[in-house]
Amino acid sequence: MTDPFADIQEILFTEEQITGRVRELAAAISRDYAGRAPLLVSVLKGAVYFLTDLTRALAVPVEIDFMAITTYGSAKAQSGVVRLIKDLDVEITGRDVVLVEDIIDTGLTAGYLLRLLQARAPASLRICTLLDRPYRRILETLDIAYRGFEVPDRFLVGYGLDYRERYRHLPFIGVLKNEVLAAGAPAAPPTARDAASPSAAGPPDAGAAEP
Protein backbone atom coordinates (compact mmCIF):
# COMPACT_ATOMS: atom_id res chain seq x y z
CA MET A 1 0.00 0.00 0.00
CA THR A 2 1.35 3.38 -0.95
CA ASP A 3 1.46 6.17 1.61
CA PRO A 4 0.19 9.29 -0.16
CA PHE A 5 2.31 11.47 2.11
CA ALA A 6 5.49 9.61 1.37
CA ASP A 7 6.99 12.62 -0.38
CA ILE A 8 6.19 15.27 2.23
CA GLN A 9 8.67 15.73 5.04
CA GLU A 10 6.53 18.12 7.06
CA ILE A 11 3.72 20.59 6.74
CA LEU A 12 4.93 24.15 7.07
CA PHE A 13 1.56 25.89 6.81
CA THR A 14 -1.77 24.18 7.26
CA GLU A 15 -4.84 25.00 5.23
CA GLU A 16 -6.21 26.92 8.19
CA GLN A 17 -3.05 28.98 8.62
CA ILE A 18 -3.01 29.84 4.93
CA THR A 19 -6.68 30.81 4.96
CA GLY A 20 -6.18 33.08 7.95
CA ARG A 21 -3.18 34.83 6.46
CA VAL A 22 -4.84 35.25 3.06
CA ARG A 23 -7.77 36.95 4.77
CA GLU A 24 -5.39 39.32 6.54
CA LEU A 25 -3.72 40.19 3.25
CA ALA A 26 -7.10 40.71 1.63
CA ALA A 27 -8.11 43.04 4.45
CA ALA A 28 -4.96 45.09 3.98
CA ILE A 29 -5.48 45.35 0.22
CA SER A 30 -9.15 46.23 0.68
CA ARG A 31 -8.17 49.00 3.09
CA ASP A 32 -5.44 50.40 0.82
CA TYR A 33 -7.59 50.31 -2.32
CA ALA A 34 -10.87 51.50 -0.80
CA GLY A 35 -12.89 53.33 -3.42
CA ARG A 36 -10.79 51.93 -6.25
CA ALA A 37 -10.94 48.82 -8.39
CA PRO A 38 -7.46 47.39 -8.76
CA LEU A 39 -6.40 44.89 -11.37
CA LEU A 40 -4.79 41.81 -9.88
CA VAL A 41 -2.25 40.30 -12.24
CA SER A 42 -1.05 36.79 -11.62
CA VAL A 43 1.54 34.61 -13.23
CA LEU A 44 0.57 31.13 -14.30
CA LYS A 45 0.55 28.69 -12.81
CA GLY A 46 1.74 28.75 -9.22
CA ALA A 47 -0.17 31.76 -7.95
CA VAL A 48 -3.58 30.68 -9.21
CA TYR A 49 -4.67 29.10 -5.94
CA PHE A 50 -3.55 32.11 -3.93
CA LEU A 51 -5.16 34.59 -6.33
CA THR A 52 -8.44 32.72 -6.23
CA ASP A 53 -8.65 32.71 -2.44
CA LEU A 54 -7.34 36.25 -2.15
CA THR A 55 -9.93 37.74 -4.49
CA ARG A 56 -12.77 35.94 -2.73
CA ALA A 57 -11.73 37.57 0.52
CA LEU A 58 -11.44 41.12 -0.87
CA ALA A 59 -13.96 43.81 0.01
CA VAL A 60 -13.23 45.96 -3.04
CA PRO A 61 -14.19 45.27 -6.64
CA VAL A 62 -11.32 43.82 -8.62
CA GLU A 63 -10.48 42.51 -12.03
CA ILE A 64 -8.05 39.68 -12.59
CA ASP A 65 -5.78 38.84 -15.48
CA PHE A 66 -3.00 36.39 -16.13
CA MET A 67 0.42 36.27 -17.70
CA ALA A 68 2.64 33.32 -18.51
CA ILE A 69 6.37 33.42 -19.13
CA THR A 70 9.04 30.90 -19.93
CA THR A 71 11.16 29.81 -17.01
CA TYR A 72 14.86 29.17 -17.14
CA GLY A 73 15.53 25.53 -17.83
CA SER A 74 12.17 24.84 -19.43
CA ALA A 75 11.94 23.27 -22.83
CA LYS A 76 10.33 26.44 -24.17
CA ALA A 77 13.16 28.62 -22.96
CA GLN A 78 15.56 27.87 -25.79
CA SER A 79 16.03 31.48 -26.84
CA GLY A 80 18.21 32.28 -23.83
CA VAL A 81 16.01 35.09 -22.61
CA VAL A 82 12.71 35.09 -20.79
CA ARG A 83 9.78 35.18 -23.16
CA LEU A 84 6.14 36.10 -22.70
CA ILE A 85 3.94 33.11 -23.51
CA LYS A 86 0.67 34.77 -22.59
CA ASP A 87 0.22 38.51 -22.29
CA LEU A 88 -2.49 40.34 -20.39
CA ASP A 89 -5.88 40.62 -22.03
CA VAL A 90 -6.52 44.11 -20.67
CA GLU A 91 -4.70 47.42 -20.89
CA ILE A 92 -3.14 48.50 -17.62
CA THR A 93 -2.24 52.07 -18.47
CA GLY A 94 -3.60 54.31 -15.73
CA ARG A 95 -4.81 51.33 -13.68
CA ASP A 96 -3.95 50.37 -10.14
CA VAL A 97 -2.18 47.05 -10.57
CA VAL A 98 -1.22 44.45 -7.99
CA LEU A 99 1.17 41.72 -9.09
CA VAL A 100 0.19 38.58 -7.21
CA GLU A 101 2.92 35.98 -6.76
CA ASP A 102 3.00 32.64 -5.02
CA ILE A 103 6.60 32.93 -3.90
CA ILE A 104 9.44 35.39 -4.37
CA ASP A 105 12.86 33.84 -4.12
CA THR A 106 15.74 35.42 -6.04
CA GLY A 107 13.34 38.11 -7.25
CA LEU A 108 14.50 37.70 -10.84
CA THR A 109 11.09 36.71 -12.16
CA ALA A 110 9.28 39.40 -10.21
CA GLY A 111 11.86 41.94 -11.32
CA TYR A 112 11.32 41.04 -14.95
CA LEU A 113 7.54 41.27 -14.58
CA LEU A 114 7.74 44.60 -12.80
CA ARG A 115 9.84 46.07 -15.61
CA LEU A 116 7.40 44.70 -18.15
CA LEU A 117 4.35 46.10 -16.36
CA GLN A 118 5.93 49.40 -15.38
CA ALA A 119 6.68 50.11 -19.04
CA ARG A 120 2.92 50.17 -19.65
CA ALA A 121 2.47 53.12 -17.30
CA PRO A 122 0.02 51.87 -14.69
CA ALA A 123 -1.24 54.41 -12.14
CA SER A 124 0.32 52.28 -9.42
CA LEU A 125 2.05 48.93 -9.22
CA ARG A 126 2.51 46.85 -6.08
CA ILE A 127 3.61 43.32 -5.27
CA CYS A 128 1.64 40.86 -3.20
CA THR A 129 3.26 37.51 -2.49
CA LEU A 130 2.06 34.68 -0.34
CA LEU A 131 5.58 33.48 0.42
CA ASP A 132 8.79 35.43 0.67
CA ARG A 133 12.11 33.61 0.77
CA PRO A 134 14.68 36.40 1.12
CA TYR A 135 17.63 34.11 1.76
CA ARG A 136 18.67 33.89 -1.90
CA ARG A 137 17.38 37.29 -2.95
CA ILE A 138 19.37 38.82 -5.78
CA LEU A 139 17.04 41.74 -6.44
CA GLU A 140 17.35 43.02 -2.91
CA THR A 141 15.64 46.29 -3.73
CA LEU A 142 12.38 44.57 -4.56
CA ASP A 143 9.60 46.36 -2.72
CA ILE A 144 7.01 43.88 -1.48
CA ALA A 145 3.86 45.64 -0.32
CA TYR A 146 1.96 42.57 0.87
CA ARG A 147 3.75 39.51 2.23
CA GLY A 148 2.04 36.41 3.56
CA PHE A 149 4.79 34.37 5.18
CA GLU A 150 8.55 34.57 5.23
CA VAL A 151 9.78 31.06 4.58
CA PRO A 152 13.06 29.25 5.19
CA ASP A 153 15.39 27.93 2.53
CA ARG A 154 13.60 24.65 1.94
CA PHE A 155 11.90 23.19 -1.10
CA LEU A 156 8.19 23.82 -0.69
CA VAL A 157 5.23 22.33 -2.49
CA GLY A 158 1.47 22.61 -2.28
CA TYR A 159 -1.13 25.38 -2.59
CA GLY A 160 0.09 26.05 -6.13
CA LEU A 161 3.76 25.32 -5.60
CA ASP A 162 5.01 22.42 -7.64
CA TYR A 163 7.90 20.14 -8.19
CA ARG A 164 7.92 19.05 -11.83
CA GLU A 165 4.25 19.99 -12.10
CA ARG A 166 3.27 17.81 -9.14
CA TYR A 167 1.86 18.61 -5.70
CA ARG A 168 0.18 21.91 -6.68
CA HIS A 169 -3.20 20.67 -5.55
CA LEU A 170 -2.22 20.03 -1.93
CA PRO A 171 -4.24 22.31 0.37
CA PHE A 172 -1.25 22.92 2.64
CA ILE A 173 2.32 24.07 2.04
CA GLY A 174 4.82 21.38 2.86
CA VAL A 175 8.49 20.57 2.63
CA LEU A 176 9.39 18.02 0.00
CA LYS A 177 11.61 15.19 1.14
CA ASN A 178 15.25 15.26 0.13
CA GLU A 179 14.96 11.78 -1.31
CA VAL A 180 12.33 12.93 -3.79
CA LEU A 181 14.47 15.83 -4.92
CA ALA A 182 17.53 13.64 -5.22
CA ALA A 183 15.65 11.01 -7.16
CA GLY A 184 14.37 13.66 -9.53
CA ALA A 185 10.80 12.42 -9.56
CA PRO A 186 7.99 12.09 -7.06
CA ALA A 187 7.47 8.64 -5.62
CA ALA A 188 3.80 8.79 -4.82
CA PRO A 189 1.99 12.08 -5.38
CA PRO A 190 -0.78 12.46 -2.85
CA THR A 191 -4.33 13.27 -3.72
CA ALA A 192 -6.15 16.32 -2.44
CA ARG A 193 -8.43 14.14 -0.40
CA ASP A 194 -5.54 12.31 1.22
CA ALA A 195 -3.74 15.57 1.90
CA ALA A 196 -6.73 16.91 3.80
CA SER A 197 -5.92 14.57 6.67
CA PRO A 198 -3.24 16.24 8.79
CA SER A 199 -2.69 13.18 10.91
CA ALA A 200 -1.17 11.38 7.97
CA ALA A 201 1.75 13.76 7.77
CA GLY A 202 2.16 14.64 11.40
CA PRO A 203 1.54 17.94 13.11
CA PRO A 204 2.36 21.19 11.34
CA ASP A 205 5.56 22.93 12.29
CA ALA A 206 4.10 26.25 13.36
CA GLY A 207 7.49 27.34 14.63
CA ALA A 208 8.84 27.46 11.12
CA ALA A 209 6.28 30.03 10.05
CA GLU A 210 7.05 33.71 10.31
CA PRO A 211 3.82 35.51 9.54
Binding site: T71, Y72, G73, S74, A77, G80, V81, V82, D105, T106, L108, T109, G111, Y112, R115, Y135, R136, I138, L139, E140, T141, P152, D153, R154, F155, R164, V175, L176, N178, L181, A182, G184
Partner: protein, 124 residues
Protein backbone atom coordinates in the same frame (compact mmCIF):
# COMPACT_ATOMS: atom_id res chain seq x y z
CA UNK B 1 37.72 42.95 -16.06
CA UNK B 2 35.61 40.70 -18.22
CA UNK B 3 32.30 42.32 -18.92
CA UNK B 4 29.09 41.14 -20.47
CA UNK B 5 25.57 42.37 -21.10
CA UNK B 6 22.43 40.24 -21.22
CA UNK B 7 21.74 38.16 -24.29
CA UNK B 8 24.93 39.20 -26.01
CA UNK B 9 27.57 36.97 -27.48
CA UNK B 10 30.96 35.99 -26.22
CA UNK B 11 30.82 34.81 -22.65
CA UNK B 12 34.16 35.14 -20.88
CA UNK B 13 36.12 32.06 -20.03
CA UNK B 14 34.58 30.99 -16.74
CA UNK B 15 36.61 29.21 -14.10
CA UNK B 16 33.78 26.84 -13.28
CA UNK B 17 30.76 25.45 -15.08
CA UNK B 18 28.48 26.72 -12.30
CA UNK B 19 29.57 30.28 -13.10
CA UNK B 20 28.64 29.83 -16.74
CA UNK B 21 25.23 28.51 -15.71
CA UNK B 22 24.70 31.40 -13.33
CA UNK B 23 25.60 33.85 -16.10
CA UNK B 24 23.00 32.23 -18.34
CA UNK B 25 20.37 32.61 -15.61
CA UNK B 26 21.18 36.32 -15.28
CA UNK B 27 21.08 36.70 -19.05
CA UNK B 28 17.73 34.96 -19.14
CA UNK B 29 16.14 37.47 -16.78
CA UNK B 30 17.84 40.47 -18.33
CA UNK B 31 20.17 41.26 -15.46
CA UNK B 32 23.43 42.88 -16.58
CA UNK B 33 26.57 41.38 -15.11
CA UNK B 34 30.33 41.59 -15.14
CA UNK B 35 32.60 38.65 -14.47
CA UNK B 36 35.34 39.09 -11.85
CA UNK B 37 35.53 42.83 -12.46
CA UNK B 38 37.43 43.78 -9.33
CA UNK B 39 39.97 42.44 -6.88
CA UNK B 40 39.75 43.52 -3.24
CA UNK B 41 43.10 43.30 -1.39
CA UNK B 42 42.69 41.79 2.07
CA UNK B 43 46.26 41.53 3.39
CA UNK B 44 49.50 43.25 2.48
CA UNK B 45 53.17 42.51 3.06
CA UNK B 46 55.66 44.93 4.61
CA UNK B 47 56.15 46.62 1.26
CA UNK B 48 52.46 47.24 0.89
CA UNK B 49 51.95 44.61 -1.79
CA UNK B 50 48.71 42.67 -1.65
CA UNK B 51 49.34 39.08 -0.61
CA UNK B 52 45.73 38.06 -0.28
CA UNK B 53 42.70 39.32 -2.12
CA UNK B 54 39.08 38.51 -2.79
CA UNK B 55 37.73 38.44 -6.34
CA UNK B 56 33.93 38.14 -6.36
CA UNK B 57 32.69 36.14 -9.32
CA UNK B 58 30.05 38.57 -10.51
CA UNK B 59 29.12 42.20 -10.23
CA UNK B 60 25.59 43.27 -11.10
CA UNK B 61 25.96 46.98 -11.91
CA UNK B 62 22.26 47.79 -11.94
CA UNK B 63 21.91 46.37 -8.42
CA UNK B 64 25.34 47.41 -7.18
CA UNK B 65 25.76 43.87 -5.93
CA UNK B 66 28.71 41.48 -5.97
CA UNK B 67 27.98 37.76 -6.01
CA UNK B 68 30.32 34.96 -5.07
CA UNK B 69 29.47 31.38 -5.96
CA UNK B 70 30.90 28.72 -3.71
CA UNK B 71 30.21 25.24 -4.93
CA UNK B 72 33.40 23.87 -3.42
CA UNK B 73 33.87 21.41 -0.59
CA UNK B 74 33.29 22.52 3.00
CA UNK B 75 36.97 22.97 3.92
CA UNK B 76 37.36 25.59 1.22
CA UNK B 77 34.05 27.21 2.15
CA UNK B 78 35.44 27.91 5.62
CA UNK B 79 38.40 29.71 4.10
CA UNK B 80 36.14 31.70 1.83
CA UNK B 81 33.89 32.69 4.73
CA UNK B 82 36.92 34.06 6.54
CA UNK B 83 37.87 36.11 3.50
CA UNK B 84 34.32 37.35 3.19
CA UNK B 85 34.31 38.55 6.79
CA UNK B 86 37.60 40.35 6.18
CA UNK B 87 36.19 41.91 3.02
CA UNK B 88 33.22 43.27 4.94
CA UNK B 89 35.50 44.70 7.60
CA UNK B 90 37.74 46.47 5.11
CA UNK B 91 35.09 47.46 2.59
CA UNK B 92 31.87 48.02 4.56
CA UNK B 93 30.22 49.82 1.67
CA UNK B 94 30.58 46.86 -0.66
CA UNK B 95 27.37 44.88 -1.11
CA UNK B 96 28.32 41.24 -1.57
CA UNK B 97 26.23 38.09 -1.41
CA UNK B 98 27.58 34.58 -1.30
CA UNK B 99 25.81 31.59 -2.79
CA UNK B 100 26.91 28.36 -1.16
CA UNK B 101 26.80 25.02 -2.89
CA UNK B 102 23.48 24.19 -1.33
CA UNK B 103 22.00 27.55 -2.38
CA UNK B 104 23.19 27.06 -5.89
CA UNK B 105 21.82 23.53 -6.13
CA UNK B 106 18.48 24.78 -4.81
CA UNK B 107 18.52 27.51 -7.41
CA UNK B 108 19.12 25.01 -10.20
CA UNK B 109 16.51 22.73 -8.73
CA UNK B 110 14.02 25.57 -8.87
CA UNK B 111 14.56 25.58 -12.61
CA UNK B 112 14.42 21.80 -12.81
CA UNK B 113 18.13 21.54 -13.45
CA UNK B 114 19.51 19.78 -10.39
CA UNK B 115 22.24 17.27 -11.16
CA UNK B 116 21.04 13.72 -10.94
CA UNK B 117 22.04 11.82 -7.85
CA UNK B 118 22.84 14.92 -5.82
CA UNK B 119 22.20 14.05 -2.19
CA UNK B 120 22.66 17.50 -0.77
CA UNK B 121 19.79 19.28 -2.41
CA UNK B 122 17.95 20.43 0.64
CA UNK B 123 19.16 21.89 3.91
CA UNK B 124 19.97 19.55 6.74
Amino acid sequence: MRSRSPAGDGHPRFAHASEAEFARILDFYGVRWEYEPRSFPLRWDARGRAIESFNPDFYLPDLNLYIELTTLKQSLVTKKNRKLRRLRELYPDINVKIFYGRDYRQLLLKYGMAPAGDRQLAPR
